[in-house]
């Protein structure tokens, strides 16, 4: 029997299978950042051990950094200490750091691919659940905890139980105004925030093949939001064209050798999945979430479910709790509802194509006067490209300021937060209670839907303005 894409890469990386236990899996590339690494560095030091393969680690500062005045010292003392600790640790242990002020600094899941570090067939980990982003290149990439960061520091390996495999096929053509963020929000709404727990997901089908690398990254990025260990897409010409010529991409004879190996990375025709789901691209509308987990999403033209539609008492109670937090009513429509904030950024949607999309909508128009914005490129490189293409001028003319690279208002950790009780249309990945700041009300959507809200001050169907 043939193998799935996941199994091909997994099998190439198993160093040892522990009897009735996890596999010891070799890790090709390890990304680290300031928040989930300090305890792993101190752990390794406490053991008197050394980093086993420091040259396979890349560090950046992203979660806990300001997105304005990065040239000045970080104001919050604890944040500053954490970022300084990363600098010290990287220096001490010989790890390459693209920290604040470095031309390659940015959100870890944005810089890996754009620098050509992320490549097909690799195993990639990072102490961050959105590491699944890198799966868009046909790699096994997943988020890990700090103890696991320490494992990889110590041995370049990790203990993992082999997950089940699921394939989600999306075939057909997307409707006008529908982009990759809508695909993944639709999938999660269909199978729920826990629907893929225990699985590694491969996304396939003609609608996926038609997507750019950046659009594919958005989809793989949110795999964790349905509980999946990771998500991946088989590499193809789109993938190879994206990687070629990037800073750390293979060159010359090495490129040719890698390319022929990468071309073997696909699911065999007779491979078996534990679960397979088929979705028609035509069924997907521009999506928005209404609740407090990413599975609580619907068409921007839809209405919220009734309380009665939930089966058991706990589910009903949880739905009512979410409605109360969000200040919404069962059965209502969201269309036309005023919002106060728009956040465009995060490892989900902060790449150059996202900015091009938004610019195409707001060009020559003015932002709604009541909307406050956080517009945050994913990396210094993206920020540079925005300027090179003159997009900064389009944003400035619309009355919108572009900030500096970082995770920003995705996680309510740094200075960028949404005030309690206010609504934010956000291109990020999580709408949990308090995610964007205590009491903040997050509505997840695509960059197009965010751009529409930016212009109208309301939840708007992008198709009504394009």
């Amino acid at each position: 029997m043939g193998k799935t894409l996941f199994e091909k890469i997994w099998d190439q990386h198993v160093v040892k299978q522990i009897e009735d236990g996890p596999s010891v899996v070799y890790i090709d590339k390890h990304f680290i950042h300031e928040v989930t690494s300090p305890q792993a560095f101190s752990g390794i030091e406490k053991r008197g051990a050394k980093l086993f393969r420091p040259q396979q680690i890349v560090a950046t500062a992203d979660h806990n950094v300001p997105t304005m005045h990065q040239e000045l010292p970080i104001k919050d003392a604890l944040s500053k200490f954490q970022v300084d600790t990363l600098i010290d640790n990287c220096k001490k242990h010989g790890v390459e750091l693209y920290g604040l002020g470095h031309q390659y600094q940015g959100i870890v899941h944005v810089i890996g691919p754009e620098l050509g570090i992320t490549q097909p067939g690799m195993t990639i980990v990072c102490g961050d659940s959105h590491t699944s982003t890198h799966g868009a290149f046909g790699s096994i990439a997943f988020g890990i905890g700090t103890s696991e960061v320490e494992m990889v520091f110590a041995s370049q390996c990790i203990m993992q139980t082999k997950p089940k495999v699921m394939r989600i096929n999306i075939d057909g053509e997307l409707k006008n105004g529908v982009v990759s963020k809508d695909i993944i929000l639709y999938i999660i709404a269909q199978i729920s925030a826990s629907g893929a727990t225990g699985y590694f997901v491969e996304y396939a089908g003609s609608a996926i093949r038609a997507l750019s690398m950046e659009a594919r990254m958005t989809i793989c990025n949110m795999s964790i939001e349905m509980g999946a260990r990771g998500g991946m897409i088989a590499p193809d010409q789109t993938t190879f064209d994206y990687i070629k010529g990037r800073l750390f991409a293979p060159q010359g004879a090495e490129w040719d050798a890698k390319l022929s190996a990468w071309k073997e990375l696909y699911t065999d025709a007779d491979a078996k999945f534990d679960l397979e789901i088929n979705i028609k691209a035509e069924d997907i509308d521009p999506m928005i979430t209404y609740g407090t987990n990413p599975g609580m999403g619907l068409s921007v033209r839809g209405t919220l479910p009734t309380v009665e539609s939930f089966k058991d008492a706990t589910e009903k109670q949880n739905y009512e709790k979410a409605l109360q937090y969000m200040g919404l009513k069962a059965g209502q429509s969201l269309l036309g509802m005023p919002v106060q904030h728009v956040f465009i950024g995060s490892c989900t949607n902060s790449r150059i194509e996202d900015f091009r999309l938004v610019a195409s909508i707001i060009k020559g128009k003015q932002k709604d006067p009541n909307i406050k914005t956080l517009i945050v490129p994913g990396s210094q490189e993206v920020a540079k490209q925005i300027k090179a293409e003159g997009l900064d001028k389009i944003f400035a003319d619309a009355g919108v300021e572009i900030r500096q690279a970082g995770c920003s208002a995705c996680l309510g950790m740094n200075e960028d937060k949404i005030p309690a009780g206010e609504y934010c249309v956000s291109t990020s990945n999580r709408n949990f209670e308090g995610r964007q700041g205590a009491g903040a009300r997050t509505l997840l959507a695509s960059p197009l839907t965010a751009a529409a809200a930016l212009l109208t001050g309301k939840i708007t169907d992008i198709r009504d303005i394009i």
């Binding site: 190439q12 160093v15 040892k16 009897e19 236990g21 996890p22 070799y26 928040v35 989930t36 300090p38 305890q39 101190s42 752990g43 053991r47 051990a49 086993f52 979660h63 806990n64 919050d76 604890l78 200490f81 954490q82 102490g127 961050d128 659940s129 988020g143 890990i144 905890g145 700090t146 103890s147 696991e148 320490e150 494992m151 110590a154 041995s155 370049q156 390996c157 203990m159 139980t161 925030a193 826990s194 727990t197 964790i224 509980g227 260990r229 987990n293 706990t314 589910e315 109670q317 949880n318 709790k321 996680l411 309510g412 950790m413 999580r430 949990f432 209670e433 308090g434 995610r435 205590a438």
Partner: protein, 194 residues
């Protein structure tokens, strides 16, 4: 790592589904560079009004004096969301040694096990049985026998754990010690991939 063999304790019932790691420990408390002291911020925004420790929310279970113990029992899909191990650290630092649910998110489960906190997955029906008993009733979790028992009713269920992780937890071994001892094997593996 702390070892764990058998535990009999009262429990705290958290009847909430999809408890994500942002609820367990909000991101603004992730600025520390050590593993200690997270317990006071466990479920911070559910515990206090306006982030004010002098104003506990009376309706939240951790603030209800009738409940206590070293076992947390939560509704399905506990620990979803971010990979922050701070979630496991805060649960442990607060004093929980076991978390029971009908369904755990993968990363949380690994993080808990790596810190000697045992995630016990039970059936939906058994979870409802636990939620149905009183605040003074106790549960017994026996790792060796892989059983969880409601002591007042005598109702009991087996739970799954692979024998490697079970041995680690019973003895307080961690994966890093194991991996450090595999260095030669890992180097040999690297040679085969060149």
């Amino acid at each position: 790592m702390q070892s764990l063999q058998k535990l009999t304790s009262r429990f705290v019932p958290l009847r909430i589904e999809n408890v994500d790691t942002d609820q367990i420990i909000p991101a603004r408390f992730l600025k520390a560079t050590t593993k200690t002291g997270f317990g006071k911020n466990l479920f911070r925004d559910w515990r206090y009004e306006n982030d004010d420790e002098t104003k506990p929310k009376a309706d939240f279970v951790l603030n209800q004096p009738q409940y206590g113990g070293e076992i947390l029992v939560a509704a399905k899909n506990f620990g979803c969301g971010s990979s922050r191990e701070h979630a496991a650290w805060s649960i442990q630092d607060y004093g929980f040694k076991v978390v029971v649910s009908s369904f755990f998110a993968d990363i949380f489960k690994n993080n808990a096990l790596n810190n000697g906190v045992l995630p016990v997955t039970v059936s939906d029906a058994f979870l409802q049985e636990i939620f149905a008993v009183g605040a003074d009733d106790t549960l017994t979790v026996d790792l060796e026998a892989q059983t969880i028992t409601i002591n007042t009713t005598g109702s009991s269920e087996k739970f799954e754990i692979n024998s490697y992780k079970k041995t680690c937890l019973l003895n307080g071994y961690d994966d890093i010690d194991y991996l450090l001892n595999m260095k030669a094997e890992i180097e040999a593996f690297e040679q085969t991939r060149k």
